[in-house]
């Protein structure tokens, strides 16, 4: 089944903070084939706004870096999977997500110990 992913963006990377992201990528990951992506520019950064967006668009997984506990638990409560503390370029994130190899805490910049192999 196709999955819908929401990724807060800062340029081409995952945004450092969920609540301060100015843009967001919505990606549909089919079981096979390439991801379909749409980028939305937000009127203003807002964690509440992003939660509403995720729920209204039927998002199944949020991939983000920093997120406050309350929003994390709210999304989990709404049965949205949350992978947080993810750092790196969004194309690498999508690639690893499609392969089922992305987990919370992955750093995809490639130099630190926490860096996943890219």
């Amino acid at each position: 089944m196709a999955r819908t992913i929401l990724i807060p963006l800062q340029a081409n990377d995952v945004a450092p903070r969920f609540d301060l992201a100015q843009a967001v990528m919505l990606a549909t990951l089919p079981e096979e084939g390439a991801a379909l992506t749409t980028t939305l520019v937000l009127e203003q950064p807002s964690a509440d706004g992003l939660c509403d967006l995720a729920l209204s668009r039927g998002v199944t997984c949020v991939v983000c870096n920093g997120i406050e506990e309350e929003y994390y638990h709210y999304l989990r409560w709404k049965r949205v999977e949350v992978l947080d503390s993810i750092m790196g370029p969004v194309d690498l994130v999508l690639e690893r997500l499609a392969r089922g190899q992305l987990k919370s805490g992955d750093i995809l910049y490639g130099r630190g110990q926490g860096a996943a192999h890219v």
């Binding site: 800062q10 638990h73 750093i107 630190g112 926490g114």
Partner: protein, 409 residues
């Protein structure tokens, strides 16, 4: 730590020279500071985090190395406008950052650029200080309507809150007990914040079940090669806490072998990293937290008696909400204000019916559950007053069952 490409500096004033002499341990110097420091390259990628900043952010220096500063620090001020790009460098900026354990922490960031005599930028530093709640006469001012402070009205909790400054002055271990959601972690943090160690790190460790070697490494650190995943030396949380406080959550989940090692740490103040042969001195104060009665744990053999006696130099029990019903009303109002402010909603009160439903609910999840219920209600409520239909369904069902039982009688 070796900062690459630092030229040898001479002694002529006004430049400080010799700082990069090979014998100088720059990392130890930064690790000794009570404030967070991050060393950045010219592109603002991380070269080094000191221990205080590791504890504040929750990221180890090896994980963070090479990542852009903003991704790891996640400070609001840095993301709105990087202080290194601002005019008038070295002016501090205040904001908040998000730690790895998803807490919002108020911080002050001071950017520093280190240049050679020719004005060439060598590297950048950010000094990051965690800002405490403003204090008056040494006592934290209770913030009205905030979400992360310990608040209560009942006599028993007032007695406990009054004890905090006294407990904070001690170096002895502290054992905090209480059911889930009663505020054990908040109490531990409050004790740290009022202690002379407050400028040092406060490090939380969950002793929840995980492979023993991994837990040992998490607590005591490891040396390179000690395990297949130990690719380099890594200090444990006890070392990361430095001269601060380490809070061990769910101490009863700690395997007995690690409990024995902890006894030794408490006695000798020395830890032996996994696979290492050189003990490392630790100065952190230990606060242990458990949701289960220590006596029951002792009886079932899950807690070593020698560890229990060492940890319970001071012991505080936080009562569940059902034993302090007089706090329910106060806490409902407190969290209503806090969430209304946070969610920017004009919700100002509970209707009488909603308040009655809440007053008759048992709150098995204690204050955490009460807080979540108010969070939900404020979010769902479109008007000014929270009605019963704005409360979570399980609560309405319980209220309904209560009414049926009353009618049947």
């Amino acid at each position: 730590m070796i900062i690459p490409d630092l030229p040898t500096l001479d002694l002529s004033a006004p430049h400080i020279s010799g700082l990069d002499a090979s014998s100088m341990d720059f990392a130890a110097l930064l690790d000794g500071l009570p404030v967070g420091v991050v060393v950045l390259d010219k592109e603002r990628r991380i070269l080094f985090l000191n221990k205080a900043l590791e504890a504040l952010t929750g990221f180890s220096r090896s994980e963070a190395m090479g990542a852009p500063c903003g991704q790891v620090l996640r400070a609001s001020t840095c993301l709105r406008r990087c202080p290194h790009l601002s005019e008038g460098l070295q002016a501090s900026v205040e904001g908040d950052c998000l730690s790895r354990d998803r807490r919002r922490l108020p911080v002050r960031v001071t950017p520093i650029q280190v240049r050679d005599r020719g004005g060439e930028l060598l590297f950048r530093l950010d000094v990051v200080e965690e800002l405490k709640t403003p204090s008056v006469g040494g006592q934290d001012v209770p913030e009205i309507g905030t979400l992360h402070t310990l608040v209560a009205r009942c006599a028993e909790m007032q007695r406990i809150l009054a004890l905090i400054p006294i407990l904070a002055q001690s170096e002895a271990p502290l054992l905090i007990t209480g059911e889930t959601g009663t505020g054990k972690d908040l109490l531990a943090e409050a004790v740290h914040r009022q202690s002379p160690r407050s400028r040092q790190p406060f490090v939380r460790v969950s002793c929840s079940p995980m492979p023993e070697a991994l837990l040992e490494s998490e607590l005591f650190g490891h040396v390179k090669g000690a395990a297949p995943w130990a690719e380099e030396d890594k200090p444990g949380k006890l070392q990361a806490a430095g001269a601060g406080t380490i809070c061990l959550s769910e101490i009863a989940d700690l395997p007995l072998a690690q409990q024995a090692r902890l006894v030794r740490v408490l006695d000798e103040r020395l830890v032996l990293p996994l696979g290492g042969d050189k003990p490392v001195r630790v100065n952190a104060r230990v606060i242990a937290v458990t949701g289960t009665s220590p006596e029951a744990l002792l009886a079932s053999g899950r807690l070593r008696e020698d560890l229990f006696h060492r940890l319970s130099a001071f012991r505080i029990h936080l009562p569940p909400l059902r034993e302090r019903r007089e706090d329910v009303d106060f806490l409902l109002t407190h969290f209503l204000r806090a969430f209304a402010r946070k969610l920017k909603k004009n919700v100002t009160a509970f209707s009488e019916e909603a308040r009655r439903a809440l007053a008759s609910y048992s709150f098995p999840g204690n204050i955490r559950e009460l807080k979540n219920i108010v969070d939900y209600a404020v979010m769902v409520c479109p008007g000014e007053a929270i009605l019963p239909e704005h409360l979570p369904a399980h609560l309405s069902l319980e209220a309904g069952r209560g009414k049926s039982r009353a009618k049947a009688r």
